[in-house]
Symmetry: C2
Subunit: 217 residues, 2 copies
């Protein structure tokens, strides 16, 4: 099947390797044959993303407290994107990220509502989490790209000399960022801000820990 071959090509060699000619060569047919089957490169990409989306099954949300479940549902999107970076990057390029993650996003929305957020609040919280996640994903990918070394973040920060900032901070910025833990911190900050003032949100900073009210964990 054409779409499966395209999906495999993207997953193994990245979105840059997906051309109609290359795909046709892999399949052993003429380039124009592809067009008869999928119509278009854009339509091919959409079909490819759709196929991938339906392939990865439903996600499991962990946690007893609403806040924990929200965080878990959000981490599922992050993890899913990280473990299929080529397809996710392609979806990002064509602006079809929602198409790829819709089931996971619906689940996250449900958890936000279960945590007590009203319609509009839940929608805004979902969007804030998604936008933020997308930013951290791009940051997590960028490191391995083909950016010339001389103008990568590390090199640029190493060249900064400014009396307003400390050398220690500059050294820290010249090193590799721990994208994973940065994401975790930012996610918690955004979720807690969104859940602030909700009943049973269990923020936990200064509040009383209600203790284990569930059997497991």
């Amino acid at each position: 099947m054409v779409i499966d071959a395209a999906l495999q090509l993207v997953e193994s060699e990245g979105s840059g390797a997906l051309s109609m000619r290359r795909l046709a060569a892999d399949l052993g047919v003429a380039t124009t044959t592809i067009y008869w089957h999928v119509g278009n490169r854009d339509e091919l990409v959409v079909a490819l993303i759709r196929r991938h989306a339906q392939r990865m099954g439903e996600s499991v949300v962990n946690g007893d407290h609403p806040r924990d479940r929200v965080l878990s549902a959000a981490r599922n999107i992050w993890t899913s994107a990280l473990s299929h970076r080529n397809v996710t990057a392609l979806a990002n390029q064509v602006g079809a990220t929602t198409l790829l993650h819709l089931p996971l996003e619906v689940t996250l929305l449900a958890e936000l509502q279960a945590a007590g957020l009203e319609d509009g609040e839940a929608a805004d919280a979902l969007r804030a989490i998604l936008f933020c996640t997308a930013g951290f994903l791009v940051a997590a990918w960028r490191d391995e790209e083909r950016v010339p070394v001389e103008l990568q973040r590390r090199a640029l920060w190493a060249s900064v000399r400014d009396p307003r900032v400390s050398d220690g901070a500059l050294d820290a910025l010249a090193g590799e960022p721990d994208t994973q833990s940065l994401f975790e911190t930012a996610l918690v900050a955004i979720v807690d801000a969104a859940l602030a003032g909700c009943s049973g949100s269990g923020r936990g900073d200064g509040g009383v820990d209600p203790g284990g009210d569930g059997p497991d964990r």
Copy 2:
């Protein structure tokens, strides 16, 4: 000058219009002439970004309290990116965002340190703000892109039917997001989380407002 023409081309027609042949035609020279001057398309793009970066002057940071100044410095990056979206998008594509915003980022780092953050904390806070901002920027741009209507966020959310989520939330997600205010909320959440526990950070939720301690504003 070749680079100026390229910069103007990107600013007026977007990064997609920047090709060696198109640029040569605009300048009234042969395509190969461009190569003699800039060597490469990648080098041309870098030179273009560098030129744009030095053109927009220093930023002004407003506010008396450290927290306000951090927020102001962060907003400067957001605003600068929004008002030059084509160049910023191009820099994003080639992974040279830091090259474009380095002066603004150094200023933000200085404000984070002035707010009391240690070396590593300031570096992490800066990265969190930058990554998050990048995500919201992409979201703010994506709306106007050439994504087929049938698979845009709005259409996809309008098609969701799930007992776990309310119709009101789905309606909200089928509408246009207010990216500006979403960014503002997320920014405040991340900055406040980073500044939590710092001396004189002035979080302001329940704390005592120290009042005006500066002569101006």
